[in-house]
């Protein structure tokens, strides 16, 4: 990088925030399409049933209705979605059609679609489509789904088990046998979902004349969706254009292809017109991918000095009826199993993951993808070990962290680890928390029956995932990011990036990188993204890749453009390129002190080539791509702290304070990085304190509104104190790692440990989220009964002993 000061590292506000605070954003539902048809879906009311008949005549006659569409109408137009991951030797999943043919496998699965002049008319008609179901046995609980006698979630499958995989090489049996202490920890995560405030939406227009399909949709990966529509609708992919306007939050759930969006695109092709669909909130709860449903059991062997010897993990991940297309749903389970113990040094590791199908909606990516589960299982296990051997949890961590000097290596679990800064993060966190004072105050309050808990959690984070994951499984997902830059006649720079922005501020970060490289202000750089017709081919947004990979591509493109500017400048200023300075958008010859502004240079290049000295037509644009090679991902790391107070009379938990110390390598924009962390922490806290998709045993989701599915609001969170430890990533010249998922990965674990630290004084512990008041009270009641029966047992022993 040329200058040390300059826009890189500055808290630059986001350019597109100006539009959004004026209500001038453009989300999919804001786009006006006169004459378009609106779609409403008829959804399965059963978790598992055969469809005997669908009666659509009455609905078809209702006012405003143009077409009632069933599976058979789309059969010739649209292939089913079917996830295949050969590199994991996982059998191809069952075919999932946009509308169910003869079997529905979860409550809410789309069965028919009504296309009408208004959404209200479509919903009126949907109520008059009569579907006759024959209820089939359903399996809802993941542990039940594993059993051989369990009903099949999808009739055509012979087993619900989609994946049964083991990680780690040497078995730790010897270490467990020789260990001074062995501790075991079990955690259960109910299902959650991303609840982006803007629901999923799509507008699909198909022109029979040109054979072109144009799709506006609220999505994270436009190029992936272009491949999906082209493949499944049988259209050449140069005839498919996907545009992602402003997106109202995504968090992973807008990374997948959904049956509803596929049906809308297919109906556009069927009717040759514009069709639009905006999911309502109940539909979002029923059809957005869910996540986190898992059971984890981990065992840890320690020697007498408290050093970790071996870790053994059993992990179960609930997938739902199908897998999310095209990336599959096993990422959560894979990360959960393989990343247990990631921050720590130990010798033996074994983890077995089983991922099972069940009669619920498919699960998919949600911020952190399994890493919050691995972190929670690990950190609750470490706290339990500290309590068992009577060592302070901070000290036990200090003894067992991977050391910074270790540098990049492969862990016993098979993770490719680069240098970590866990000890630095720990010391910074303890200082921020004033840990010793907190412990003293906790003890003082405990004497007054006020139960506070202090929790901490360390985490490793796989960011900026490279090509190995999807390419190897022949899944058409671009793993690189691209950036094209062009010097404009106004002297500013126009930039097209493949990295998409759902609010993370990636476009601003890229503007800073380009501005720094070209010696101009970020306000002089315009960054556009999210349109497969103009953006370079690239992945979009997932696994915290925006700045780490998209930013690196921008850096390379800007450096190329700088070279071309200097080359033309040298010809015009008749000064060798190396003797020309660039600052403030102006070239200055250090020998002749002549100057040339970017605007003058551009006007010469574009409009007055006749005045240029010989040397060929000037080039003032550049396009570069970047993909991480030689390492599958960039490992970032960090720690979180949490202070809670538990009201043991009502079971209510108040989160008093939250701290985060994070190392995401070079910080391009501290404002955007800290806000990404705070937003992530809020989702992590919600994920343990409040959120779960409640299912009856019959597989009916029973909390499908924002009044019943609880998310943290402004009144439920304290301020979040954020600090950084910056070790620059050596893998890229930019040196930035990902940060988007850091907050979510560690917050739930820190809260879990804080609550169990408070309850430990009463012998209680939480094993399953969410920590609703009645579950806290049940844990306290169980502990009370155990204390009483122990007391009774102790009392009866005294009698005969002194005979």
């Amino acid at each position: 990088m040329t200058q040390s000061h300059g826009p890189l590292g500055r808290a630059v506000p986001r350019a597109d925030a100006r539009r959004l605070v004026a209500g001038a954003g453009c989300y999919v539902d804001d786009i006006s399409t006169p004459g378009a048809l609106h779609v409403a879906f008829v959804r399965s009311t059963y978790a598992h049933a055969a469809i005997l008949s669908i009666e659509t005549a009455a609905a078809a006659r209702m006012p405003g209705v143009i077409r009632v569409v069933c599976a058979t109408d789309l059969e010739r137009i649209c292939k089913p979605m079917q996830v295949a991951m050969p590199a994991l030797d996982m059998p191809t999943t069952s075919a999932q059609f946009p509308l169910a043919f003869d079997e529905v496998c979860w409550q809410g699965a789309p069965v028919a679609a009504i296309a009408a002049h208004s959404r209200a008319q479509a919903e009126d008609a949907a109520e008059h489509v009569l579907v006759e179901y024959d209820e089939l046995p359903a399996v809802v609980d993941a542990e039940q789904a594993m059993k051989p006698d369990s009903p099949q979630a999808v009739c055509s499958r012979h087993s619900n088990i989609a994946l049964d995989r083991t990680f780690g090489t040497n078995n730790g049996a010897a270490s467990f046998a020789a260990a001074a202490t062995v501790v075991e920890q079990r955690i259960v995560f109910d299902r959650q979902t991303g609840v982006s405030l803007e629901s999923r939406g799509i507008i699909a227009s198909f022109s029979p004349l040109s054979g072109e399909l144009t799709v506006h949709m609220s999505h994270q990966s436009p190029f992936q969706m272009r491949e999906v529509f082209s493949d499944l609708l049988g259209l050449p992919n140069h005839k498919v254009r996907v545009l992602c306007p402003d997106v109202g939050g995504a968090f992973g759930l807008k990374l997948h292809a959904y049956p509803e969006e596929l049906a809308v695109a297919a109906i556009a092709v069927l009717l040759g017109r514009t069709i639009r669909f905006q999911a309502d909130r109940l539909e979002s709860f029923l059809s957005d991918t869910h996540a986190r449903e898992a059971v984890g059991v981990a065992r840890l062997a320690l020697d007498s000095a408290g050093r970790f010897l071996a870790i053994d993990v059993e992990a179960l991940s609930g997938l739902g009826a199908y897998q999310a297309y095209p990336r599959g749903s096993v990422g959560e389970g894979l990360h959960m199993a393989q990343m247990v113990g990631a921050p720590y040094q130990f010798n033996h590791f074994r983890a077995r993951l089983r991922a099972v199908h069940q009669n619920k909606s498919p699960t998919g990516a949600y911020r952190g993808v399994g890493q919050p589960l691995a972190c929670t299982l690990t950190e609750t296990l470490v706290d339990r070990a500290a309590r068992t051997i009577g060592m302070d949890p901070a000290e036990l961590r200090r003894r067992n962290y991977l050391s910074a000097e270790r540098g990049s290596h492969t862990t016993p679990a098979g993770l490719e680890m680069s240098a970590v800064s866990l000890h630095a993060c720990l010391e910074t966190l303890l200082a921020m928390m004033q840990y010793e004072d907190l412990r003293r105050e906790q003890q003082r309050l405990r004497e007054q029956q006020i139960y506070r808990g202090i929790g901490m959690a360390s985490f490793i984070e796989l960011t900026a995932v490279g090509a190995a994951v999807y390419g190897a499984n022949q899944i058409a997902v671009p793993a690189q990011e691209g950036c094209s830059v062009r010097l404009e006649p106004s002297g500013t720079v126009l930039c097209h990036s493949s990295a998409t922005d759902q609010g993370q501020g990636v476009r601003t970060g890229i503007a800073q990188i380009v501005a720094q490289t070209l010696g101009i202000e970020p306000t002089d750089v315009t960054v556009r993204a999210g349109d497969t017709a103009s953006s370079p081919v690239g992945g979009g947004a997932w696994a915290s890749r925006g700045i780490a990979i998209g930013g690196q591509a921008a850096l390379l493109a800007a450096e190329d453009l700088r070279g071309k500017i200097l080359e033309l400048g040298a010809r015009v200023l008749e000064t060798p390129a190396e003797r020309i300075d660039i600052a403030g958008g102006t070239l200055r010859s250090t020998t002749t002190a002549r100057t040339l502004s970017f605007a003058e240079l551009a006007n010469l290049a574009y409009f007055r080539q006749h005045q240029l000295p010989a040397g060929g037509c000037p080039e003032l644009s550049a396009t570069r791509h970047y993909v991480s090679q030689g390492f599958p991902y960039l490992t970032a790391n960090g720690m979180q702290g949490c202070l809670v107070e538990v009201d043991i009379e009502t079971g209510m938990i108040e989160v008093l304070r939250l701290w985060v110390v994070h190392d995401c390598g070079r910080v391009v924009n501290p404002l955007l990085v800290d806000e990404q962390i705070r937003g992530g922490v809020a989702q992590g806290i919600g994920g343990v304190l409040y959120e779960h998709c409640e299912y009856s045993e019959g597989g009916q989701l029973s909390n499908g509104t924002l009044a019943d599915y609880l998310v943290p609001m402004a009144g439920e969170l304290p301020d979040i104190e954020v600090a950084h430890v910056a070790s620059v990533a050596t893998e890229t010249s930019l040196g930035a790692k990902g940060v988007g998922e850091a907050g979510t990965i560690g917050a739930g674990a820190a809260l879990w440990n804080a609550v169990n630290d408070a309850l430990a004084a009463l012998g209680a512990a939480m094993e399953q989220q969410p920590f609703s008041p009645d579950r806290v009270l049940r844990a306290l009641a169980t502990a009370e009964r155990a204390r009483k029966s122990a007391a009774v047992a102790a009392a009866t022993n005294i009698g005969p002993v002194n005979v």
């Binding site: 539009r19 959004l20 209500g23 209200a120 982006s196 405030l197 629901s199 924002l706 609001m713 402004a714």
Partner: protein, 165 residues
């Protein structure tokens, strides 16, 4: 019955200072009417059951959920949306603070947040952070974790009363 019941009703009201008069079906909510009939898409629809606050509009000076008021009920009222508050300059300091402190990320909740913030600052001298969080307790944001929004509102409240940030 003195009035014949109607399936389509004439409504006339003022939106962001300009008078409109339309025929509308009673079932159309005010937020859908503003968005689809008048193209004022700054008010957003997040839940359609009155919980998330993204659809806040000001009706006769009161901030209401635009999804819980029928368009026909706005007859004769003075309606203001985020577009109106923005062009009138009434909330320019709040908008500046939101941008400067990154008190928004995806921006979907932001119009609703700005509406309730303007209402809070109009009613109270300098609200405490606790009072700000209380006022925002009915506005759902999934991106920011709320702190930057509280910071921005607190900063503007203090600035409007000549206090240092």
């Amino acid at each position: 019955m003195s009035q014949a019941s109607k399936s389509s009703v004439d409504v006339a009201f003022v939106v962001n200072g300009s008078a409109i008069s339309e025929q509308v079906a009673p079932r159309i909510t005010l937020v859908d009417f503003l968005r689809q009939r008048l193209g004022l898409t700054g008010s957003h629809v997040g839940c359609e059951h009155g919980v998330c606050g993204a659809c806040h509009v000001r009706v006769d000076g009161q901030v209401l959920r635009g999804c819980l008021l029928l368009a026909v009920q706005a007859d004769g009222a003075e309606v203001q949306t985020i577009e109106g508050l923005s062009s009138s300059g009434e909330i320019v300091d709040l908008q500046e603070a939101f941008v400067r402190r990154n008190a928004l990320q995806c921006g979907f909740c932001t119009p609703g947040m700005l509406m309730i913030a303007a209402d809070l600052l109009a009613r109270r001298e300098v609200p405490s952070r606790e009072a700000i969080r209380e006022a925002l307790s009915g506005n759902y944001c999934r991106c920011t974790g709320y702190q930057s929004i509280v910071d921005a509102i607190e900063e503007v409240a203090r600035a409007r009363h000549g206090l240092a940030a």
